[in-house]
């Protein structure tokens, strides 16, 4: 039976037949790895930051994949992998719970950033009235 030949000798070596008498059987349902979410810490004291996900059959193998996929270029000090299924996720429809947060400036430090200026301005005003 003729096999697939390629310029790439590795493909030729596989000896894959050009035609199959019977097509390869379909994969079993759910015959897949789990996904794991990957978190990297780049500096001492920094938070672990989510960088992506990997497919793997176990946490150990997920870590060994994550190391190469997300840690082979930049500097990384530590890594976490977490089963995606273990992450409890908010419903996207509930995004409206955050809708008015932007208006509540009094809850934000930035809102108090110029407080010294305001105090000074108030004192100035008081001074003017007294005089």
């Amino acid at each position: 039976m003729p096999i697939i030949t390629s310029l790439d000798p590795r493909i030729t070596r596989l000896g894959i037949p050009e035609h199959f008498d019977t097509p390869p059987s379909a994969k079993e349902e759910l015959d897949q790895f789990q996904t794991f979410e990957v978190f990297c810490r780049e500096k001492t004291g920094a938070h672990h930051v989510h960088v992506g996900s990997v497919h793997a059959p176990s946490p150990e193998i997920a870590l060994s994949f994550a190391k190469e996929q997300y840690g082979r270029r930049g500097k990384v000090l530590n890594m976490w992998v977490v089963k995606t299924a273990d992450v409890y996720v908010m419903d996207e429809q509930d995004a409206d719970m955050f809708e008015t947060a932007g208006e509540k400036g009094y809850r934000d430090v930035v809102d108090y950033a110029r407080v010294r200026d305001r105090i000074d301005a108030f004192k100035q005003k008081q001074q003017t009235i007294l005089e």
């Binding site: 590795r10 790895f33 176990s58 060994s64 994949f65």
Partner: protein, 249 residues
């Protein structure tokens, strides 16, 4: 010279296993594993480059010349690394047995009296630690946490690879000199450490070392005696180099 002999064995091992394992690039069982295994193979080529660069002082050959222009009988890699990649079971088992030895070897060499080698060892030992972590997790996963079928395939792979792996430790004629000059504690010492180390992982994996009547079946490589598989590998690896050996890249 003893040091030259040691450096060449290590350089050739790294070059040939690196080339072999890179044959999986694009063909790995899944994308993530393809990336990991290819990256490990690339690290090996990097180690061979560092070692050939060190050797240049003794041989006068550039790393490219040393890697690509010698005859098969001048390579001193162990036979284990030159065997075709086979199935993924064979490649993984070889990776496990070889890299466990590499890690222990480089750990010992951190204290070598030959300073350039000690420096290199300190630099790459972390990289090889990852190679062993990768190998260990797969061997345990497929043997102990897999199916009966995957376990028996891994046991078969161990039966095939183990006798060949003993060829890593084939003693050279300069063993005593390396020990006496505090360059390296020697292959025998390394082999003992290796036996203990692989036993630990194999126990977790539920795999059993085959009993051997002849421990030297994998020998020969260190003296230039190779299997029929090395020449075709060299032909393929040096194909582009031979088009124009003086080309500047």
């Amino acid at each position: 010279m003893a040091i030259q002999n040691l450096l060449l064995r290590m350089a050739d091992d790294a070059l040939i296993i690196g080339h072999r394992n890179s044959e999986w690039t694009g063909l790995g069982p899944i994308l993530e594993e393809d990336i990991a295994f290819s990256s490990i193979a690339q690290d090996k080529i990097g180690h061979s480059l560092a070692l050939f660069t060190m050797l240049q002082e003794f041989t006068g050959l550039t790393p490219e010349q040393a890697a690509f222009s010698r005859n098969a009988q001048d390579y001193t890699n162990c036979q284990l690394v030159e065997y075709p990649i086979g199935g993924y079971d064979f490649s993984l088992m070889r990776h496990f047995l070889f890299d466990t030895a590499e890690l222990l070897r480089y750990q010992l060499l951190r204290d070598s009296s030959f300073e350039p080698l000690a420096k290199l060892a300190k630099k790459v030992v972390g990289e090889i630690k990852y190679h062993v972590f990768h190998a260990n997790t797969w061997v345990v996963q497929l043997s102990a946490q897999g199916t009966e079928e995957s376990h028996s395939i891994m046991q078969q792979a161990l039966n095939t690879c183990y006798p060949l792996a003993l060829g890593i430790f084939e003693p050279s004629k300069v063993e005593q000199e390396l020990v006496d000059t505090n360059i390296f504690l020697g292959e025998k010492h390394l082999q003992n450490l290796w036996q203990d180390s692989i036993k630990e992982t194999l126990q977790k994996a539920g795999l059993i070392l085959p009993s051997l009547t002849d421990e030297t079946v994998g020998y020969g490589g260190r003296y230039g005696y190779h299997t029929e598989y090395l020449q075709p590998l060299l032909d393929e690896m040096t194909e582009v180099y031979r088009l124009d050996p003086t080309a500047e890249w």
